[in-house]
């Protein structure tokens, strides 16, 4: 009916006609023109009111009101640039910080994995002992049994952890290049639900060693290195010096990356050691049948693992199985960190809201007369409350828009500074932090919510307002108003305390962590990775027995380098475990072989890395396949296995009683190989000249900044291994720093938020107290006129503020326990209820609150009683 709506002018014309008709009738009854006109008008009542009622009956009234309110709101905001700037800026920072964290959550935790039905993809791990904390990769024979016996899966496959593969130049234009790739079983691609863009995936018979010289390339590698030539499929390329037939190319969409940015895949080609049931070196991935729950899959796999443990008591002793959704695996720390930051930043926003609410209240007080006049002129209370709420929403949206802008910039900054593209999320590659519709919706929702939140207090007080009070001169502040403001002080303190506590715990953790002795000297050390030829990747004789010597000859001669060596796994990046039997000690029970961390190194490794040699000697070039087998052990291993003895000259049997005999030739200092935050564990090394390892990290120590040597070292390496280019160049200092990475980001951000919260709370408290002092100028003046001294007034104002701040602290301490529990997974060597952190934070906040109350209170104590009483 809206389109048929009458115009206001038509209605006015009708009223006019009515008055004419009525005048006519009255004239007929004998009244003169003037009297008749007056009487007609009288009988009609209020013409304007009738017109108004016609207008209000319109269906788009609320829109008119909204337009009016918006226009009025914008005008008011423009008239108070100081207030507007303060409110919008506060909210922009609050909403911006929230949106930034949300965009991180959106890009990592909320984004579905790029596979069909990703919720049905799971990883299956072996476990040892009770529970599932002690999970381990899967051995091929166990996987075959899982595959045969389980009914929960549509399909299940395995792949190894991947390594660098060397692509030889095909023509003169190409250079040798190392790319990461992995070995996958035939079912791998169908489990993931990915069909090849070109060609085919692997066939079951290609899992056999010797028939495994096929390769599937990623779309990116195919485009970049082979110019996207469709005829490449079916041709041979040279990888690690051997011919491989390209059988397929993976699709580009969805962004198809899996596990450590793999760019090529080769058939799994089970080697001799892969057939050993305790050779755990694969990751099992399964796709659950539709309708099978995680609990059912876990129960079934657990039962199968228990049966295998009984069947193979030596290899599978105490074995269990654990099933985790692919989308959750490897994201626990990230989830905790993001959740904790989300909570903290939410609290910061609440503080911002409290501050703006206080600003609004203060402004509401100065606007009391304006509002009273408007309501005296006939504006309803609801109408006024609505108008105030519209104004708050407007401020909220302005702040939100600025916050969104801030977030687009800051999320990019975080991505770059914290190198989030290096975040290894299984099945997912993070290439940017998108500001998509979800992030936009979040920002909009948060700004509206905050607008309503801080707009509620002024709107409610408008609803309750007495029309006459403010119009009278010198209206005093109500006790209700002051109660509200005290509640604001208390809530600011409580919220700030929670955020500060979180930050305090994280800072203490990181300080503890940075205080941990890395056990080596990372300064001026550069590392890079090379993959070496290997018949049996992790067992048997070295593929390049002369590698260490060549390294010494070619790289060692570079001027400016003080020493050169290589090692299998770099410190802090995790390493393998190997079992052994100590010679001369009672034989262990079957299935309970003692184990220790294991590595392979070239001569001079410990010197190059700056790991102190405590006894004996390092590996030398003289330790070869024809000389006796030797090992270097760490201090913890020496103490554990040869307590109160000199371990030098003692021996172990590697891998079991019948394994090769290896003699201890040296003891070195402890290094936390599993990460700076991990426990020190026994560790032993074999020389590369006696034991194979497929990937070696070249380590060089320079006199100055080591990164300047990258090119020369690479060139020197190419001199003796032209087909095996080095990759993954990193300084040791970066590696040490990255080892604390999962804590560094939340720590820095939480500290930033805490600082922000502290500033906001201080400004907020000062604002509340300042406003209250202004409101009570007359009362204070009166007190002073009656003999109150300046110190008394000071004490009165500060005392009352601190009383409420104390209430806030009690509430805040309780609340901080919650956040601390959330953080506990990220803490290192600090308890969530650390009394020192809690005490320090409480004291800091008390001092800030005291200062924030003192400054306006001092102003109160300087009030001139005569001026104060006269000014009204």
């Amino acid at each position: 009916m809206f389109w048929r709506k009458r115009k206001q002018t038509d209605f006015v014309a009708e009223i006019e006609a009515h008055l004419e008709l009525e005048t006519e009738r009255l004239k007929e009854q004998g009244l003169n023109e003037e009297e008749a006109r007056m009487a007609a008008r009288r009988a009609f009542g209020n013409v304007t009111r009738a017109e108004e009622r016609f207008y209000e009956a319109g269906r788009w009234m609320w829109w008119d009101h909204l337009k009016q309110d918006l226009r009025f709101g914008l005008r008011t905001l423009r008239k108070n640039p100081g207030f507007t700037a303060a409110a919008v800026l506060t909210l922009a920072l609050g909403v911006g910080a929230n949106t930034t964290i949300f965009s991180l959550i959106n890009a990592t935790l909320l984004k579905p994995l790029p596979f069909p039905h990703p919720d049905r993809l799971v990883l299956v791990w072996e476990t040892s002992g009770k529970g599932h904390d002690n999970w381990n990769s899967v051995s091929a024979p166990n996987f075959w049994d899982f595959q045969l016996q389980s009914k929960s899966f549509e399909g299940i496959a395995i792949f190894d952890f991947g390594r660098g593969y060397n692509l030889s130049p095909a023509g003169t234009k190409q250079e040798a290049e190392q790319v990461s790739g992995l070995r996958a079983s035939a079912g791998f691609f169908s489990v993931l639900g990915v069909k090849p863009f070109l060609g085919r995936t692997f066939l079951p018979e290609e899992e056999t060693l010797g028939k495994d010289h096929e390769v599937i390339l990623s779309y990116g590698l195919w485009k970049r290195r082979y110019g996207g030539d469709p005829a490449l499929v079916g041709r041979t390329i040279t990888i690690d010096g051997q011919d491989f037939t390209v059988v397929g190319v993976m699709p580009r969409q969805p962004q198809w990356q899996f596990w450590n940015s793999s760019q090529l895949w080769v058939p799994i080609g089970y080697t001799k050691t892969d057939y050993e049931r305790d050779w755990n070196s694969f990751v099992a991935i399964g796709r659950l049948k539709p309708g099978v729950t995680m609990a059912q899959a876990r129960a079934e796999m657990g039962a199968i693992a228990n049966r295998l443990a009984q069947e193979y008591p030596t290899e599978d002793a105490d074995m269990g199985a654990w099933v985790v959704p692919l989308g959750e695996f490897g994201r626990e720390d990230l989830r905790t960190a993001l959740l904790a930051m989300f909570v903290a930043v939410g609290f910061v926003l609440l503080i911002a809201c409290v501050n703006v609410a206080n600003l609004m209240l203060a402004r509401g007080a100065t606007r009391q007369k304006e509002l009273a006049i408007r309501s005296a002129l006939g504006a309803g209370r609801v109408r006024i409350a609505r108008q105030l709420l519209t104004e708050s929403l407007l401020v909220g949206l302005l702040g939100g828009a600025a916050g969104l802008l801030l977030a687009t910039w800051s999320s990019q900054l975080l991505f770059n500074v914290f190198r989030l593209d290096h975040l290894h999320l299984p099945g997912q590659e993070l290439d940017s932090i998108p500001i998509d519709s979800r992030v936009f919706g979040f920002a909009l929702l948060v700004s509206c919510l905050t607008g309503v939140l801080f707009g509620l207090a002024p709107a409610f007080s408008a609803l309750r307002r007495d029309v006459n009070g403010p119009l009278k001169e010198g209206g005093r502040e109500s006790s209700q108003g002051s109660r509200l403001r005290h509640a604001l002080v208390a809530s600011e303190v409580a919220l700030a305390l929670v955020v500060l506590c979180g930050a305090g715990l994280m800072i203490k953790s990181l300080a503890r962590l940075l205080g941990v002795d890395p056990g080596l000297d990372p300064k001026n050390v550069l590392t890079m990775q090379m993959s070496l030829p290997q018949e049996e990747a992790y067992n048997g004789p070295p593929g390049l027995p002369q590698f260490c010597q060549d390294l010494d000859a070619h790289v060692g001669s570079i001027p400016g380098l003080t020493s050169v060596s290589a090692v299998g796994d770099l410190p802090f990046e995790g390493n393998d475990t190997r079992g052994f039997v100590v010679e001369g000690q009672p034989a262990p029970e079957p299935g309970h072989l003692p184990g220790a961390g294991y590595g392979v190194a070239c001569p001079d490794y410990f010197m190059t890395m700056g790991i102190p040699l405590l006894a004996g000697r390092e590996f030398a070039h003289a330790d070869t396949l024809s000389s006796p087998g030797v090992i270097v052990i760490n201090e913890t291993m020496a103490r554990r296995f040869w307590p109160k003895e000199n371990p030098i000259g003692r021996a172990i049997r590697f891998g079991g009683t019948s394994g090769p005999r290896l003699t201890v030739i040296g003891v070195v200092g402890d290094v936390r190989y599993l990460g700076l935050d991990a426990r020190v564990r026994p560790q032993f090394f074999r020389p590369y000249t006696q034991a194979a390892w497929p990937v070696m990290n070249v380590v060089v120590r320079a006199r100055t900044d080591p990164s300047t040597y990258t090119v020369v070292v690479k060139k020197a390496l190419a001199e003796f291994l032209p087909d095996r280019p080095a990759s993954g160049v990193e300084t040791m200092e970066d590696i040490v720093r990255d080892s604390t990475g999962s804590r560094r980001l939340p720590m820095l951000l939480l500290s930033g938020f805490a600082l922000f919260a502290l500033v906001l709370a201080a400004v907020g408290i000062a604002g509340v107290v300042g406003f209250s002092v202004t409101q009570r100028t007359r009362e204070i003046g009166l007190r002073m006129a009656l003999g109150a001294r300046a110190t008394g007034v000071l004490g009165l104002v500060v005392g009352r503020t601190m009383k409420w701040a104390l209430v806030g602290m009690v509430v805040g301490i309780t609340g901080s326990m919650g956040l601390a529990r959330l953080l506990s997974g990220l803490l290192y060597d600090v308890r969530p209820t650390d009394p020192r952190v809690l005490g320090a934070v409480t004291l800091l906040l008390a001092a800030i609150a005291l200062l924030a109350a003192y400054l306006p209170a001092r102003r109160a104590s300087k009030i001139d009683p005569i001026a104060a009483l006269r000014c009204e």
Partner: protein, 118 residues
């Protein structure tokens, strides 16, 4: 038309104006002033209809589709907006009349014999 008399008039109960307008229009098209006068006359000057209240009510009825309006000329040759009852308006009138009668009877019953005396 003395002031005294005006004070004695009954003010309309909420919602009854619509009913009276519809009832008045049953005799044929009429303009606003005519409707007001008709109500007053038919009630033998007992009901007070503020003319100003009439027009928003007419507007409301028109929007609901119970009456339609058209500009025309009055008996004494003046321009006026004439209202006509629609079929839906007729139905509404029957419904409302029934409802009102039931209400009046029920209230009468509750008030008892005294009400008749006064």
């Amino acid at each position: 038309m003395s002031t005294q008399k005006e004070k004695d008039r009954l003010e309309l109960l909420q919602g009854t104006l619509d009913l009276l307008i519809l009832r008045t229009l049953i005799f044929g098209p009429q303009h606003g002033q005519g409707i007001g006068r008709a109500i007053q006359q038919t009630s033998q000057d007992e009901l007070l209809v503020e003319h100003g209240a009439l027009y928003p009510a007419l507007q409301r009825l028109e929007e609901r589709g119970w009456i339609v309006a058209e500009w025309g000329t009055s008996a004494n040759n003046r321009k006026a907006r004439f209202y006509t009852l629609t079929a839906a308006g007729r139905k509404q009138l029957v419904r409302e009349t029934t409802r009102w009668r039931r209400l009046a009877t029920a209230i009468g019953r509750v008030l008892g014999p005294e009400a008749r005396k006064g």
